[in-house]
């Protein structure tokens, strides 16, 4: 029952045809990490250990033989326990990690939101960081100028735009990061556990904004441990276990099966 693969309806109607709405196509992807058994970070030690033949590696397959497809407008959740390979898979889809085997095809503008405000410069002001972060997401200064006002308005940080980021609170940083991220209007958003930030009112605003994006046709691939958020946002889900797909199906089925196993532990 649990291993039964439930295909979403779209897949059955158009099984083998080239489909332009196919935004993410992951072909039998695996990734291997080669970790030294002990961490050697200087040349001296490495030379000694190398001469003594004491350098050993552990091969570790973080993701093994995973295939999946995501079409426009349908959102996918990746669930599973810690270390199941969810974030690694997401990072491969984002193009940050290269798969050891298999390949991934993506279409459309894809924005990875794996950490809010990655690359913020703490010495620069909020204003400067909006442009900096925008550039990291691939937008020129001109394009960011158009977005600037709405980003500031959404973040509710008007008063702090000329203050260096090192004087921001953690909550303010996440708010700024989130506001930049959601103003990008991408085709595919890769989200790693950052669905809600800030205080309760701001959190509600975030959730509203995410639904707005979804209604506009944005596709989400979400890694989350919050089953409520996942059920709320996604149509389909994939349950990863030790790097492999344990179950694919509609979000309700997969979440139910996953929770059932969690409860039996």
């Amino acid at each position: 029952m649990e291993d039964k693969i439930v295909l979403p309806e779209q897949n059955i109607t158009l099984p083998f045809e080239e489909d332009d709405n196919l935004l993410v196509d992951v072909h039998d992807v695996s990734i291997k990490f080669r970790m030294p058994t002990e961490r050697i970070d200087n040349l001296k030690e490495y030379a000694i250990k190398f001469l003594k033949h004491q350098i050993k590696y552990n091969d570790f397959w973080a993701v093994k033989n995973v295939s999946l497809q995501v079409k426009r407008g349908e959102s996918l959740a990746l669930i599973g326990r810690n270390g199941a390979g969810k974030s690694t898979l997401l990072r491969m889809i984002a193009g940050i990690l290269e798969p050891t085997e298999g390949y991934i095809e993506t279409k459309g503008n894809m924005v990875p939101l794996l950490k809010l405000g990655a690359g913020f410069d703490m010495d620069a002001t909020g204003r400067e960081n909006i442009f900096l972060n925008g550039a990291m997401l691939g937008f020129s200064k001109k394009e960011m100028m158009k977005k600037y006002d709405s980003i500031v308005e959404f973040s509710e940080l008007q008063k702090f735009m000329n203050v260096p980021l090192k004087n921001y609170s953690q909550g303010m940083l996440s708010r700024l990061g989130f506001s930049i991220a959601v103003d990008v209007h991408p085709d595919v958003l890769l989200v790693d556990e950052i669905l809600g930030v800030g205080d309760v009112p701001f959190n509600r605003k975030c959730s509203k904004k995410i639904h707005e994006l979804k209604d506009e046709g944005a596709t989400f691939i979400v890694v989350s441990h919050s089953m409520a958020a996942v059920k709320d946002l996604c149509n389909n889900a994939i349950w990863l276990k030790d790097g492999s797909i344990n179950m694919t199906g509609t979000v309700d089925d997969v979440v139910a099966a996953y929770l059932k196993e969690c409860n039996s532990l």
Binding site: Y46, I96, L114, A118, A135
Partner: protein, 272 residues
């Protein structure tokens, strides 16, 4: 078949990616240059003032010792030109060395192409070099009474600049990749840089050295870059052999650096 169609798409995607990389790079260069002198009263003027002051100190200390050697130009100009050329390479490589490790967040959480990090540091040092040129021109203006002349060959700096850019980028690519694995390379490199500077005729004339050391000088790429640059100041167009030499050094270093960088690319995320 799927693989074939993929390569076509990849070329198109790579073009877009390259454009994106350039936007990111310029933003980072601007950030680097701004951050250098942020919150100092004189701000950006420091980029001009800094080489001027260093030159003053060196000229003051060394002019009586080294200034009388076989130097075919005004000593302060000689020292300053040596300093800014060596400084260009030094700043580029020293700032690039830890750049992969320092940008861990961006490396693992966003899709910024890796080469942007060392490249933006090298470009930043080129921008700084531009400011240093202002300092050089100021000193040359002041030294006109002492016989300094301006020559059109100064414009040829633009021909020379890409060669040292490639050279610095090559070293930077290699260093930042190695640094990810071996953190002690930083200390080695600092010692090496000091040695390198003394083996480059920054403030002395090559003729002061004995013949054995002068042979070492000839295999020192910085000697050739410096020599080229200084001949532009005194109005001599370097021979075509010199052009071939500096560009050959630049391109070979760049390729070697790129190879090291490429071979280590996949291990960045694991070892940082």
């Amino acid at each position: 078949m799927a693989q074939n169609t993929l390569t076509g798409k990849q070329i198109k995607a790579n073009g877009l990616q390259f454009k994106k990389s350039m936007v990111i790079m310029w933003t980072m260069v601007k950030k680097n240059v701004k951050n250098q002198y942020r919150r100092s009263v004189l701000g950006i003027f420091w980029t001009v003032l800094n080489p001027l002051l260093t030159m003053l100190v060196m000229a003051f200390v060394f002019s009586n010792i080294f200034g009388r050697g076989d130097i075919n130009m005004d000593y302060p100009v000689y020292v300053l030109s040596g300093n800014i050329v060596f400084g260009l390479m030094r700043t580029a490589t020293v700032t690039s060395l830890p750049c992969m490790v320092n940008n861990y967040d961006l490396l693992t959480k966003t899709r910024v192409p890796y080469f942007v990090f060392p490249a933006s540091n090298v470009v930043s040092s080129l921008v700084n070099f531009g400011f240093s040129l202002i300092a050089l021109i100021i000193v040359m203006l002041i030294r006109i009474p002492a016989g300094v002349e301006f020559h059109w060959t100064l414009l040829m700096i633009i021909v020379w600049l890409p060669s040292i850019f490639l050279f610095s980028l090559g070293i930077s690519l290699a260093l930042c990749s190695i640094y990810v694995r071996f953190r002690d390379i930083k200390h080695f490199y600092n010692v090496f840089l000091t040695l390198w500077m003394y083996l480059t005729p920054v403030f002395y004339a090559p003729s002061l050295l004995n013949s054995t050391v002068r042979k070492v000088l000839f295999v020192n790429p910085m000697y050739h870059y410096l020599d080229y640059f200084r001949s532009l100041i005194i109005g001599v167009v370097p021979s075509w052999q010199t052009h071939v030499l500096v560009y050959a050094i630049g391109i070979v270093t760049m390729l070697l650096g790129w190879l090291v960088f490429k071979s280590q690319r996949k291990s960045f995320i694991i070892y940082i």
